[in-house]
């Protein structure tokens, strides 16, 4: 669906208003201090208020104006699936790689992304995923001596 830049701006303004209010309120809990002796909450408090004022200004500015029409949020019908799937893959990687070990997780991660984001043949997927896992294992663990988890299988 096509939306105008002003609609985008209004959403962003609300987001930053919340951010600003959060920091300003939080700062009170850690002591703002005085101008003579600024405390740890001094900058968060004033910066929080400043960003809230700016967000408010952005909101007001975008009201009643249409602004240029932006292309739809996702350029293709299937875009959101690919975006979501890629983010999910990253999050899953972070959760499972101590258990499964670096090499195996890398194989699965690369394999899944190659096969399902822009679908490639199984043969190509396997070749890329296997070689990525092996080369990454050699490069990072053997050559650069990075302390990456080896998992329960021990490789």
């Amino acid at each position: 669906m096509e939306r105008t830049q002003s609609q985008y701006d209004r959403v962003a303004a609300i987001f930053f208003l919340i951010v600003g209010a959060f920091f300003a309120l939080y700062a009170r809990a850690v002591e703002i201090g005085t101008w003579n002796e600024p405390g740890p909450g001094f900058l968060p408090f004033y910066a929080g208020i400043i960003i809230s004022i700016m967000a408010f200004a952005l909101f007001v500015k975008s009201r009643g104006k249409k602004g240029p029409v932006r292309p739809s949020f996702f350029p293709e019908a299937g875009s959101w699936k690919r975006v979501l799937a890629t983010f999910t893959a990253l999050i899953v990687y972070n959760f499972i790689f101590d258990y499964l070990g670096f090499a195996l997780t890398t194989f699965l991660f690369v394999g899944v992304l190659v096969k399902f984001i822009f679908p490639q043949s199984w043969a190509k997927t396997l070749i890329v995923a296997v070689s990525a896992a092996i080369i990454a294992r050699l490069l990072f663990i053997n050559f650069l001596e990075t302390q990456l988890p080896k998992g329960f299988l021990g490789f």
Binding site: Q5, Y8, D9, V11, A12, F16, V19, F23, Y26, V30, E31, T34, W35, N36, E37, P38, G39, P40, F42, L43, P44, A47, G48, I50, M54, A55, A57, L58, F73, F74, P75, E76, S79, R82, V83, T86, F87, A89, L90, I91, Y93, N94, D98, T106, F109, V110, L113, V114, I117, F118, Q120, K124, V128, A132, A136, F140, L144, T146, Q147, L148
Partner: protein, 505 residues
Amino acid sequence: MDLLNHILLGAQVLFTPGNIFFCFIGVLMGTLVGVLPGLGPTAAIALLLPNTFHVSPVTAIIMLAGIYYGAMYGGSTTSILVNIPGEAASVITCLDGYQMALKGRAGAALGIAAFGSFIAGTISVIGLMLVAPPLAKFALAFGPPEYFSLMLMGIVILIYLASGSILKALMMAVFGLLIGTIGMDSISATQRLTFGLLELSDGVGLIPAIMGLFGVAEVIANVEQEIKREIIATKVKNLLPNLQDWKDSFWPMIRGGILGFFIGILPGPAPVISAFSSYAIEKKLSKHPEKFGTGMIQGVAGPESANNAATGGAFIPLFTLGIPANSVIAILLGAFMIHGIQPGPMLIDKYPDLFWGTIMSMYLGNVMLLVLNLPLIGLWVKVLKVPYPILFPLILLFCLVGVFSLNYSKVEVALMIGFGVFGYLARKFQFEMAPLVLALVIGPMMENNLRLSLVISQGSPWIFIEKPISAAFILVSLALLISPFIPWIGKRRRKLQEKVEGEQI
């Protein structure tokens, strides 16, 4: 002969097998990421930073600097051959470079880009050598109020040069300051928003933030739809420009080099702005401005020289003031701190080997790039042919491993993914990353200097105006913020913006 001694010192530092090797790795990696669209020098330096922990600081900086100017070389290759700029700074090279390639003169275009980069790189190294030490002496007089005002001016210049709305860029900068306050307060040791996480008490890591904003977010934006790339130039030959090419390009190179150096000193996307300005100047000075865009070699030589020279200029604020001018330099600043070097005006006096060694490495790096780029163009073209569906999982893998290996922390990886989501959305909403990154880096420094200044002045904010140097910085910042409202300047700024549209530093 003070200068000669320094140059000798630099050469002594540089010419050890280890440093030469790392310089080579740096420029090689730089060219590689310059060639690859979707992975810029910022992300590449962030990636390699953890691998420099076990070498000396000089070696680390030599390699990381190599990536930066190497990427500028690499970016031009894709612009000329595929009409896809590998780096934002090479966008303008597409105009005439790709046209030259279509006419069968890809070799000459690539060659002049490489020679131009070399000549301009040399100009900026000489400039750096001459300007940095006196500037550092001047900066010795700075106290907390001067530093605070200077950093404020740095952020404001960046915002002024930002494409798009000043208000939104300001918001991103303040947001960066706010994120920068997370962690342990260095004056009172109070934990701020750390939720008891050890990783957060040192503050939000710069590397996870940059990898998220520039690496992950960029890749995610690219998986939305498949991009088809066509590579012309099956064979690139005749890399040496002929005599006429040299005659046409000589002055554009020199002009581009000097222009790029001075623009490079300013904060912001200097390589991009200098490339665009150089193109505009060459077009204006040319006897045949109408022919620009059809394959004029001046349109390649000028901008390519300018963007390379700008990388040298960008080192000046780092070496003299300890303030980063853009996100690449910001990571280098992070590298200094990791290696226990306090950046600032004392840096050149305290660590002459670091400063002069890095400078000399830039000479050597430029020679290496020249040698590397010309015969290896075939290899770079092959790299370009790796399809994106296979490339992007590997880029993401590098981001994951790079961030994890920094502190072996899953929290930081999660932070990177979080910044990835934010960066992806911010792009959609037309917010810029650069002000946020710069503010995140210098935020803690700004905060300390602000609080120290207020303690010195016993609570009077007028201290920033009572000190003359500080007042000058504040005045410039205010002028920049107000100027877009003055009609004729506002119009010019919008024109500049249109040119730099879509830029990510």
